[in-house]
Each structure stands twice: as structure tokens, then as C-alpha cells.
């Protein structure tokens, strides 16, 4: 039996209903507090403020779905940012070349992470912690302190708008399409299978090494895009630009409904997560709360989002967390054996046990 069309639709949209609803609520709240928000300029500003995080979060989400963590996202952005600010010229040719190079650097950074994790089997959280400091150091070598600049034309390619449609929106649509296409390839299904249950995936012939390396490279590609956008938005270089973004990126991933234990969620939904976060922050500013509180606030949102996911699950999932602590591989992924798994999970509900590879 193939599901009825409504069921098919439900399955197709399953991962994003939650984030879309949350985003909708915050948009309404924002529009009420700040009616001026509805102007084209304001919308473009909103997009430009969210897109760096959104692009980086798509990359991070791919790694998380594959069952890993990538802590090097921030310094990857920094490296790309300073390279562009220092080396990119004013000519269109140079700018086109450096766009390609920026993406290549992103992929290279992902390749290194992928090799460390997939071939040398270093736990991703440690491997990417190390590469994070490595690239942070490289960024400082390229540019010691904030400076450099890029041309307005370059900035406008990314941050401008056409006929009221922000270029950022077009970019995000393209990214979403690319991800949806990847999802439908062998690599895509392998990423989900490995993140869901690595042993089961391998037993079914999934190629662990190329698939994981592919996931990290793909993430790197999106970091490259994020780095380009960051540079266009700030039109200068800062070796520490990316570092503080790590927490924000992870929060966007979780708000987008991607499970931190891997195998579940949709990377494109992390874009929604980024927008939710930007709007919450903007609403706070509008209410007169100092920007000094931003990171305290973002941390709290991340914890709240995780807690909401845990509480949304059923008690049995708590047990799985515990058996995990005892060291056994949870024998039965939903911890409930043949008695039917939790049926009414919130969209992209995430179990409490955070799997780290």
C-alpha cells in the first residue's frame, strides 16, 4: 500500500512543519512590535542578517545528520573571509576567480575534517576542535587584525536585491535545491543511514569512508558560501569574524529540527532555524535589550530547544539515554522493543543522548 497523497505530503514536509510554525509565530510578533519591518528594505536587512548563519548551518546540519559534529565552522568562515579581504581584487575576473577559490578552500577544509574522522577514525568533536584552532591560526597569519576591503560590486552581488527580491533569498533557494538534490543521491541516503545507525548502514553495504568525507566536503562547500556572504556583508576582513558564530550555527541547526544524535532532520530546515534566531534577536533589540546579552540569550535558546525536544519525546527515550550511559549500545533504537515506538514525536524530536562520533 502506498500512502494516500495526504500521507505522502505529510511525510515530505514532516521535518519542517515545526520550524515553519515557530518562524511564522515570530514573524507575526515581530510585525506587531515593529510594523516598519514589512518594508522591502527591512526584509532585505533581515535576509542579509540571517544568511551567513543559514548557509553555515546547512553545512553543519549535514555533518550532524551524518552523526558528527563540526566545531571548525567558525574558523573556516574566518579563513575564507580574510583570504577574500586580502587577496581579492577589484576586477570582475579576480572576483569570479576568488569566488571559486573560496568554495574550493571550504571544500578543502571539509576534506581535511573528513579524512581525520572517516579514515583516521578520530571522534569528530575532537578532530574538528583541533582543525578549528588550526584554521583560526591560519586566519591570523593571513590578516593580523581587522582590515582589508572588498569592492561594492562584490558586496552587491550577494547583499543587493532585484525587483524587491533579496539576492540572499535566491541564493538560499539555490542552496535548498542543491541539498534536496543531494538528498536524492547515493551520498544523501548514505549520510542519513550512517547517522541513523552506522553499524546497520555498513552491514547493508554503505561505504563509510567516501560517504563521511563527502558529508564534510559538502559542509565545507556551504561554509565557503557562508564565508563569501560574510565578506560581502561586512565588506572587510576580520580573522576573528567566524569564531563567535559557532554557538549561533548550532542553535540554528537545532531550531531547524535536526537531531543532534544524527540521522534525522533536514539540512535545509536549518535555514529556517537561522531566521528564527535572527528574528528573536531582533525582537529583543526592538524591546530595548542590550546586544551584550545576545550570546547569553542564544545559549539559553539552544538549551531550551534541546530540552523541548527531550520533553517532547516519551519517557522510554530517557531509558535509552541511560542504557547508553551504562555503555551498551541501545539494543533497540527507540528503547521500546516490539511495543511500538513513540508515535507522536514532535517534528525532528531529538533524543537526550547526544551521540558523538
Amino acid at each position: 500500500m502506498i500512502g494516500a497523497p495526504s500521507e505522502r505530503l505529510r511525510n515530505a514536509t514532516k521535518g519542517i512543519v515545526g520550524p515553519v510554525l515557530v518562524l511564522g509565530v515570530f514573524l507575526v510578533v515581530y510585525a506587531i512590535i515593529q510594523p516598519a519591518f514589512l518594508s522591502t528594505m527591512q526584509i532585505t536587512t533581515l535576509f542579509n542578517g540571517s544568511t551567513v548563519i543559514a548557509l553555515a548551518a546547512v553545512g553543519e546540519a549535514i555533518v550532524v545528520i551524518a552523526g558528527g559534529f563540526d566545531l571548525s565552522v567558525g574558523s573556516s568562515l574566518s579563513v575564507i573571509n580574510v583570504l577574500l579581504a586580502v587577496h581579492m581584487g577589484q576586477s570582475t575576473g579576480s572576483q569570479a576567480l576568488w569566488i571559486v577559490l573560496a568554495l574550493a578552500v571550504g571544500v578543502g577544509i571539509g576534506l581535511l575534517n573528513g579524512v581525520l574522522v572517516a579514515i583516521l577514525r578520530i571522534p569528530s568533536i575532537v578532530a574538528t576542535l583541533a582543525t578549528s584552532f588550526f584554521w583560526g591560526g591560519v586566519a591570523l597569519l593571513v590578516l593580523k587584525q581587522p582590515g582589508g576591503s572588498v569592492s561594492m560590486t562584490f558586496s552587491n552581488w550577494f547583499t543587493g536585491s532585484h525587483a524587491g527580491v533579496p539576492n540572499a533569498l535566491l541564493l538560499l533557494l539555490v542552496v535548498t535545491l542543491v541539498w534536496l538534490a543531494v538528498k536524492r543521491t547515493r551520498l544523501g541516503i548514505s549520510i542519513y543511514a550512517l547517522g541513523g545507525d552506522e553499524e546497520a548502514a555498513v552491514a547493508n553495504g554503505v561505504r563509510l569512508k567516501p560517504s563521511l568525507i563527502g558529508a564534510y566536503c559538502l559542509a565545507g562547500l556551504f561554509y565557503g558560501l557562508a564565508g563569501l556572504f560574510l565578506t560581502a556583508e561586512t565588506s572587510s576582513g576580520d580573522p576573528n569574524a567566524g569564531g563567535p558564530l559557532l554557538l549561533t550555527v548550532f542553535t540554528a541547526v537545532v531550531l531547524g529540527g535536526v537531531s543532534l544524535s544524527g540521522g534525522r532532520g533536514d539540512a535545509a530546515a536549518a535555514i529556517l532555524g537561522a531566521f528564527i534566531l535572527t528574528i528573536i534577536t531582533d525582537v529583543l533589540y526592538a524591546m530595548g535589550i542590550s546586544s551584550f546579552y545576545t550570546s547569553i540569550f542564544t545559549g539559553a535558546v539552544l538549551i531550551l530547544a534541546l530540552v523541548a525536544n527531550v520533553w517532547g519525546g516519551q519517557g522510554a527515550r530517557w531509558l535509552r539515554g541511560f542504557t547508553g550511559i551504562l555503555g551498551g549500545r541501545a539494543q533497540d533504537d527507540d528503547g521500546t522493543g516490539g511495543l511500538g515506538g513513540p508515535r507522536d514525536l514532535p517534528a525532528g524530536g531529538s533524543p537526550p543522548a547526544v551521540g558523538v562520533r
Binding site: E7, R186, I189, G315, T323, Q331, T336, L339, G341
Partner: protein, 513 residues
């Protein structure tokens, strides 16, 4: 190694020759040879630990043999990973299913062989349709291909595992304890699918320790014991008891030499009243008497694990517990330990049983009881060592284990340490979850002997085993879990293997009375 000139019989589907696999000092396979013909259903029979599962892992590419060779349809193959095994023509339905929980039924069935739609991308609708077709072809059309696998019952997951293996049309399908989670109707279903696969020219290696199934399905079978093949014979030539004798040798008497326990008293040490932890546990009540070994039977996933966790305070179940007549609030494992309840839980993964594997035996034994050896915060090493040594002697473990790191110990010694830890803590109620999983026959006998001794000293043991034989031979009374409830209580002469299995499959609920 690759002697192609050897004459392989053209009709031989699988030939396993002198395959050896050692894990450290343990010989899992010690030169096993057997072969099966094209179109045959070949039984691979043996006790737990005989080497069946290692054989399956080798044939499905999860483990590489140290020595020996394998030929499929006359060609020597090297199965270095599951992918090579699949392309060489084997496909396995594993006992512990290898379904990815958050993918749908269709995504799991069609994993890496998804039909391509436009532009060469996988097409969810075509995948779903192809899965539906496969499901109905294998008489499982009622399973919705668009449902995530975690949403399915355990038996349906196991059926999917079988369907996935057979639908790949491998030269050789390996079915590893494929009926472990199936009820009687589903077992019939499985027999029909195997027959269908066979009639289309497929070869099946059917791994089981259930003689009844082997007899019904297999033309010939090979018995494994202690990592070697005992004999290959036509199934009809051998009686059940002869087969059991081949599987167990004379060890069967030795394992259970200690006999069944008789409770030393009739008073209840632990009373569980209406324990619920939905959906895994529903309203479970029972009493554990002084000096009793109470068996707890049930197929995997019917609530035993959750019950043990609940009794140990590791999950917040509803209901009440009484220990020695006093009500006990179970908020954490600490409450359980304070009430003299100990647990020995062996998860699937050996080497981890509530032990700290990177620390030596001594620390593992005493860490839960440090206050016994501490003066103003400092540990008195002599006293600690003396007490630990005494405990080790009590559980028949080698004194050498004190200074060895736990990961390097044999499964049996690890198990003894886990038990010893709770003895040292003065535990009166011991929860033993499948304590003989993966230990050799001799250690099994020792563990059962130890259990009987502990019971005679007045300690009470709740004992779960996946092996029905063990429960029948060790416990005097047994409870059977089915779908999270206690489906039957069997005692004395009524505690037979047949009655237990019936209740485990949910076919004998009337026993509850």
C-alpha cells in the same frame, strides 16, 4: 590461497574450508568446513558460543577470517566488507536487525538500490512503489512502505530484515536466528518465504538452535560446537536428542550440575506491585522470595530489560516496590544500592557490564564500597586488597584479575567481577540480566554454581536469560514476559521448556489462570 585449479563441484553453492577466527586467546572458529548445494536449505546448528554467529559475520563480510577459504558457486571469494559480500552473492538477515530506524520501510528496503527518476536522482515515489511491490511479493503487503522503521513492531522489523535479504536475490541467503522475534503465525510466513526463495533456485543457510525449525526447513544440517563442525548430515537421519547431544556434548549435564534452587524461606524479600513504564512495561507485579532464583523469560523486546532497569531505579516507572517489608522509593540507582539491590547487566556489547573497563579489577570491585576501607577520607589499601581478594575467592575468579585491566579479561571473569562487586557491597537481591551471554560452557557452569550458592546463603536472584534451557534448569520458578506484561508464572514440574516457549510467544496466556 587462491588455488583456482581445484575441482569445485559445479552444484556447490557455498564451500567453507578450514576457516579459523580467533579473538585474542579465544578460538571462535577453529577450522570449520562445510558446504551446501545449490537450491538447498542448509541448517547451521549449535549452542550459544559454538561459533555460529562468527560464521555468519564472516560470510556477510563483517569479520575477516584469519585462515581458510570460502567459495561461492565454485569461485573463491574474499569477503573483506559487507559490500564485497553482497556483490559476491550473499545477503544476510541478521538476528539483531540492521534497519536504520529513522529511514522509512521503503528507504531501508531499497537502500543503495533506489530506482532513479528524472535526471538520475533517486525518486521517493518510485522507491516507495518498488518497496510496495517487493513487500507484496513476499506476502507482507500490509506493511506501509512510507512508515519509518522505528514505528514498526519488532516482529515486523525482523520480517523486513528477511525480505530485504531475499529480495536481493542472492546466490546464498544467510538467515541468522530469523525467527527469534516471530510469533507462530509469522514463523509459518517465514517458512513459506524460504520455500519460495528456494524454488526459484536460491540457496539458504539457516542458522538456528531450534531443532524443530531445522527439521521442518532443512534437507541437511551441520552442527557446530566450540568453533568446530561436529558433523554434516541429512536432517532426517538424526533424532532430536541425537542432535542435542551433538550440540551440547556431555557438557549439558555439567552446565546444570548444580541443579535447580529451592528457596530457603517463604518470606518475600522484594515485592513489586503494579510496575508500569508504558509502553514497555504494563502493570507488572511479582514477589521474590528469600533464597530464591526467580527466572524471567521473554523474547527480546518484551519488557525484561525495562523491568530490570526499573527495579534498579534506572528509569522512573510507576508502581511500588517493597524490600524486606519496607516500601522503597526508587528515584535513582543510588536508592536501589542503598536497599541492597545489585544488578549485573550485560549489554549486547561485551566488555561492558557496569564495569569500568579501563581500570583494573581491584578498583572495579571496591569503588562502590569505598567507605568500608576509608579512614578520614583516605583509602586503606591493605584492607581494600584483602577484602577484594576474599570476594574474588568467593566468586571463583582468579586473584590475578585484581591487577589486570578489565578489558583484557575473559567474559567469564568480567561477569564474576560484576557479581563480586555486589557481594562486597552486601547485596541481598541480585538482578542478573543474561549473565551467561557469550561465556564458555565451563564458566557457565561456574556461574550457575555460584548462583545456587548465593541463593543457599539466603540471597535472592532475579535471573533473565535468552536461553530457555538455562531458566528451566536453574530456576525453580519462572515468570514470562509478553508485550510488557507477565503472561505466565510457572513453577516446579510445570516449569518446562515447552510451557515457557509457549508463553513467550504469547500462545499460552491462559496459564495465568
Amino acid at each position: 590461497m587462491t588455488d583456482e585449479s581445484r575441482d569445485w563441484d559445479g552444484a556447490t553453492a557455498l564451500e567453507v574450508r578450514k576457516v579459523v577466527k580467533a579473538y585474542g586467546a579465544t578460538m571462535a572458529l577453529d577450522g570449520v568446513s562445510f558446504s551446501c548445494q545449490v537450491g538447498e536449505v542448509h541448517g547451521l546448528l549449535g549452542e550459544n558460543g559454538a561459533g555460529k554467529s562468527t560464521m555468519v559475520k564472516i560470510l556477510s563480510g563483517l569479520v575477516s577470517p584469519d585462515q581458510g577459504e570460502i567459495a561461492i558457486l565454485g569461485k573463491i571469494v574474499r569477503l573483506r566488507n559487507p559490500r564485497m559480500a553482497l556483490s559476491a552473492g550473499t545477503a544476510t538477515a541478521f538476528q539483531e536487525t540492521t534497519m536504520v530506524p529513522h529511514l522509512t520501510v521503503a528507504q531501508n528496503l531499497m537502500l543503495l538500490r533506489e530506482p532513479r527518476g528524472r535526471f538520475g536522482f533517486n525518486s521517493p515515489s518510485l522507491t516507495s512503489a518498488a518497496a510496495a511491490e517487493i513487500l507484496s511479493e513476499w506476502d507482507a503487503g500490509e506493511i506501509d512502505p512510507d512508515r519509518p522503521v522505528f514505528d514498526l513492531s519488532l516482529s515486523n522489523r525482523q520480517r523486513l530484515e528477511l525480505i530485504r535479504a531475499l529480495s536481493r536475490r542472492p546466490a546464498i541467503a544467510l538467515l541468522d536466528e530469523a525467527t527469534a522475534a516471530l510469533g507462530a503465525a509469522d514463523v509459518d510466513w517465514l517458512f513459506r518465504q524460504v520455500a519460495k526463495f528456494k524454488s526459484s533456485g536460491g540457496t539458504v543457510v539457516y542458522i538456528s538452535h531450534r531443532m524443530g525449525e531445522i527439521r521442518e526447513l532443512c534437507e541437511r544440517c551441520t552442527v557446530l560446537k566450540n568453533g568446530r563442525e561436529v558433523r554434516t548430515f541429512p536432517t532426517s537421519d538424526v533424532t532430536d536428542s541425537e542432535a542435542v547431544e551433538m550440540m551440547a556434548g556431555r557438557a549439558i549435564q555439567r552446565i546444570y550440575a548444580a541443579g535447580r534452587s529451592e528457596p530457603t524461606g517463604s518470606d518475600s524479600v522484594l515485592v513489586a506491585d503494579h510496575i508500569s513504564f508504558p509502553p514497555a512495561l504494563e502493570d507488572v507485579s511479582f514477589e521474590l522470595r528469600r533464597g530464591e532464583i526467580l527466572g524471567m523469560a521473554g523474547l527480546q523486546g518484551h519488557g525484561q530489560k525495562e523491568l530490570f532497569m526499573a527495579l534498579f531505579g534506572a528509569c522512573r516507572a510507576k508502581g511500588s516496590l517493597e524490600v524486606n517489608g519496607k516500601p522503597l522509593r526508587m528515584r535513582s540507582t543510588h536508592d536501589a544500592v542503598a536497599a541492597d539491590i545489585g544488578i549485573s547487566l550485560v549489554p549486547e556489547d561485551r566488555k561492558v557490564e557496569g564495569l569500568m573497563v579501563s581500570m583494573e579489577g581491584l578498583a572495579n570491585l571496591t569503588i562502590a564500597n569505598l567507605s568500608q576501607f576509608t579512614t578520614v577520607g583516605f583509602i586503606r589499601r591493605h584492607r581494600e586488597r584483602a577484602a577484594a581478594t576474599k570476594t574474588l575467592l568467593a566468586v571463583n575468579a582468579s586473584v590475578k584479575t585484581l591487577d589486570q585491566e578489565v578489558w583484557a579479561l575473559s567474559g567469564g571473569n568480567q561477569q564474576k567481577l560484576a557479581i563480586g562487586k555486589w557481594l562486597l557491597a552486601g547485596t541481598r537481591v541480585l538482578l542478573m540480566f543474561d549473565p551467561t551471554r557469550g561465556v564458555d560452557v565451563e564458566t557457565k557452569a561456574e556461574i550457575f554454581g555460584l548462583m545456587q550458592r548465593l541463593a543457599q546463603e539466603g540471597r535472592s536472584i532475579l535471573f533473565h536469560s535468552t536461553d530457555v534451557e538455562e531458566i528451566v534448569n536453574v530456576a525453580n520458578r519462572a515468570l514470562v514476559m509478553y508485550r510488557g506484561r507477565i503472561a505466565a508464572e510457572l513453577e516446579g514440574d510445570g516449569l518446562t521448556k515447552e510451557a515457557l516457549v509457549g508463553a513467550m510467544l504469547g500462545t499460552a496466556q491462559e496459564v495465568v489462570g
